[in-house]
Amino acid sequence: MTPPDDIGAGGRRPARAPGARRLTRHRLFWPATFLASLLLGNVAFTHDFFAVRVQNGHLYGSLIDILQFGAPLILVSLGMTLVIATRGIDLSVGSTVAIAGALACEHIATAKDPGSLPTVLSAITLAVGVAAAIGLLNGLLVARLYVQPIVATLVLMVAGRGVAQLITDGQIISVSSSAYKMIGGGYWLTLPFAVLLAAALVAVTSFVTRRTALGMLIESVGGNPVASRLVGVRAAGLLVMVYVVSAVCAAVAGLMISSNVSSADGNNAGLWIELDAILAVVIGGTALTGGRFSVGGTVLGALIIQTLSTTIYTLGVPPETTLVFKALVVMAVCLVQSPAFRARLSRRRRPAASAPAVGDAGVRQQEVHP
């Protein structure tokens, strides 16, 4: 099991003030620092990067854009965080994004009155309901049939895109519904509605996981499934729940994406978003091996990824190299987060310091009960 990043490299004792050390050991320190430096770096290229202006009662600016375009990723990552905390993974979220968008747009496009609120509400209910069923299926495969999460959700990752295309007949469905447009493209209280929606869901999730015992029990199941069973934790119910939450979050993200462009594209909506989401979770400090999770860290992680995408566009990086650029930056983030890498760096800087023991792996297995 990898130690969470706030532990740092155990016995290392650099000469830092205790306050500073506590700060750097906070689990959100590295993601927050990285996001801040990424944002500041942008100012060097775009002087009015931090400028936010009001126009027609709406806020505009690069920061607002990052929040708005990042909202779907934040939602998908939110659900993914809970799944990963249980030692699972949900690869089907990208397909769920596509299915939800396709269902909603198809429903609205074929309705008599596409602009009316009841039509949009029933479209939303339909999309979220079907997503919940997808999550239920994933959860039951994992919790009841003991299929490995990566395999269980791979099924729908692949097949789900087909389902989405089936719903849209392989076409891109355009809708013109001002009520539907609100979800991903509208404004409320000067802010993009999508940002408010994402913020609300993040707040609800944080509240529910930390104010009830849900968070602790999820961490317990992910941290040590055997011990959790012996303590009487009902893991199956928790597992099903996190996969349902993940799918519902993906559905809301799907509604946002399709609403923003007023169309559903079964092929490309949410393509590879599951990988960005996993990355956001990991950058946020939740280990893929399960256990402790951090919703705040995940939000920071998702914002880092979105800021990176925005930066690439504003920098004018040639399109054919954008992915390489992104890969390099992500690798840097992951290295900075890795306690082993940091330990190695500081060892190189202070060659006199004795290297931490490279742990004779066999020693742990000894019968050492004197």
Binding site: M1, M216, G232, R292
Partner: protein, 519 residues
């Protein structure tokens, strides 16, 4: 007490094929081996015996090049060796088969036998030669296997035989078998033994590590006994009886403890056998784990379970908690028939179980002390009925104080605590659920004497307050000090349930373990 090897007459006059002298090996905080020696002669089966922690595994790891010794020497055929890694030991003719089969079940028997040294032609694997060579090896060892079938097509015992065949084909002069029989049934053991005897007759020296006494007397020619990291002695098997062997393993100082046991007994008077026992097991069993056994546990009673490691102590206890599901027999709790399908069902019946394996089965390492303590109670309540943070803090603070958990910081990660304090956290977790039956599996293992005494006192107090306790420990004195009755296990069978009044002696328990008889 550590007699040097040498003065005893070896059974054979020739030179030892493997000889270790004055081996010393320390790990941080533990002196695992201190001046240990071992001699292996060609064509003998030699048992390496000792209690848990006596240093058997470390000695094997030194002999096979996994750990270099701090002091001492290992020689093969009279020439001094310094193994830097296991491969060098293999080249010197020392092969090892470990308890868990280290083979690939999805590959064929032939591939498993020859992986890493496949016959090649033009750089590609020469399949027909591979199968032919594997088949020849199998016939030589008088086994009957289809080498083309995947290994998983065969039982665990046969897989063990394949592992041995693989080891022997490495031109082994010395074959080390580390508890090869712990997961085999009787017929499978017989199969394995006949292979071992054939190898012995060909002049291979076999070092056999086991916890089963019968097997030692059945198979082995000589015995080396380790105790607490020191050499206790080297014996011919016909010099020993099961009882004397157990004494050598456990330590002769036990004899003098007879009177001490009486005076230091802290157990309260046995409770008056109540109307109905809290829990009553009849013919409870699980195949491969524990033979059918009967046990009644009354309120306020401490039942000790004694037996060597691997005798089925833990397995028997797990059935009482639903950690494993019994496949035969029945349980009554308060006189009412019950089937414990899961730990959750047992917890609902107010049964608690502290596993012997704190790390793997007890603690959630990355959670805090507070979270680990409230976990069982919270799990029973379900996630929607959370204990408030204030309540959790109060519980954690109270139990940290009551059990003197250190550091007294409920927000410390439990993984950073010492073994004794981790054990106290687990005790707090279960005491919080106010159990009627508390099952403690090796609660004092690997913890310091202070914490140990506190836990023993706690057991006594709980029993006097009416809690039923099942206390499992490898330390017989400890079991006798605390228990009203003692169940003795041997070879996965509960061979006797003895009343500890008048007080039993450790000798009596050891005798029961050794002979399996009730008197």
């Amino acid at each position: 007490m550590a007699a040097p090897p040498g003065p005893r007459t070896p059974t054979r006059t020739d030179q030892p094929v493997l000889q270790a002298r004055g081996i010393r090996k320390a790990f941080p905080g533990v002196l695992a081996l201190d001046g240990v020696g071992l001699r292996l002669f060609p064509g003998e089966v030699h048992a390496l015996m000792g209690e848990n922690g006596a240093g058997k595994s470390t000695l094997i790891k030194v002999l096979t090049g996994v750990h270099p010794p701090d002091e001492g020497s290992v020689s093969v055929d009279g020439s001094l060796q310094r193994f830097a890694e296991p491969l060098e030991a293999q080249h010197a003719g020392i092969s090892t088969v470990y308890q868990e089969v280290n083979l690939c079940p999805n590959l064929s028997v032939a591939e498993n036998l020859l992986v890493g040294r496949e016959p090649r032609r033009l750089g590609l694997i020469h399949w027909s030669a591979l199968y032919a060579r594997a088949a020849r090896l199998i016939t030589e060892l008088e086994l009957d296997l289809d080498v083309r079938l995947p290994l998983s097509a065969y039982s665990l015992a046969v897989q063990q035989l394949v592992a041995i065949a693989r080891a022997v084909d490495l031109e082994a002069k010395v074959l080390i078998l580390d508890e090869p029989t712990s997961s085999l049934d009787r017929d499978e053991v017989a199969q394995l033994f006949s292979l071992v005897r054939r190898l012995r007759d060909r002049g291979v020296a076999i070092l056999f590590v086991t916890h089963f006494l019968d097997q030692v007397f059945d198979l082995c020619d000589r015995v080396t006994v380790l105790r607490g990291g020191r050499l206790e002695g080297e014996y011919r098997i016909d010099e020993l009886t099961p009882v004397t062997l157990v004494h050598r393993m456990v330590g002769s100082e036990l004899r003098t403890l007879d009177e001490l046991a009486e005076t230091s007994r802290t157990a309260s008077a046995a409770p008056v056998p109540a109307e109905t026992p809290f829990l009553s097991a009849r013919g409870l069993a699980r195949s491969g784990a524990v033979q059918p056994y009967d046990l009644d546990i009354h309120r306020g009673e401490v039942i000790g379970l004694a037996g060597l490691l691997g005798s089925g102590r833990t397995e028997a206890a797990r059935l009482l908690f639903g950690a494993d599901h019994a496949d035969a027999g029945g349980l009554r709790i308060n006189g009412e028939r019950t089937d414990l399908r899961s730990p959750r069902a047992a917890i609902a019946r107010r049964i608690a179980f502290c596993s012997e394996n704190r790390k793997a089965e007890g603690l959630i390492a990355e959670l805090t002390v507070r979270e680990n303590i409230v976990l069982a109670l919270q799990a029973a309540r379900g996630w929607a009925r959370p204990l408030s943070r204030a309540r959790q803090d109060e519980i954690a603070a109270r139990w940290t104080e009551v059990l003197d958990i250190r550091p007294a910081d409920p927000e410390a990660q439990v993984r950073n605590l010492s073994g004794g304090n981790q054990q106290k956290v687990l005790l707090a977790r279960w005491l919080l659920t106010d159990p009627e039956l508390l099952i403690l599996d090796e609660p004092t293992r690997g913890i310091d004497i202070g914490a140990k005494t506190e836990i023993q006192k706690l057991v006594t107090r709980l029993a006097s307050e009416g809690t039923a306790v099942v206390f499992i420990s490898a330390e017989i004195e400890e079991v006798l000090r605390l228990s009203h009755r003692v169940g003795v296990l041997r070879d996965h069978r509960l061979v006797a349930t003895l009343l500890n009044d008048p007080p039993l002696t450790p000798d009596r328990i050891l005798g029961t373990i050794a002979t399996g008889a009730t008197s």
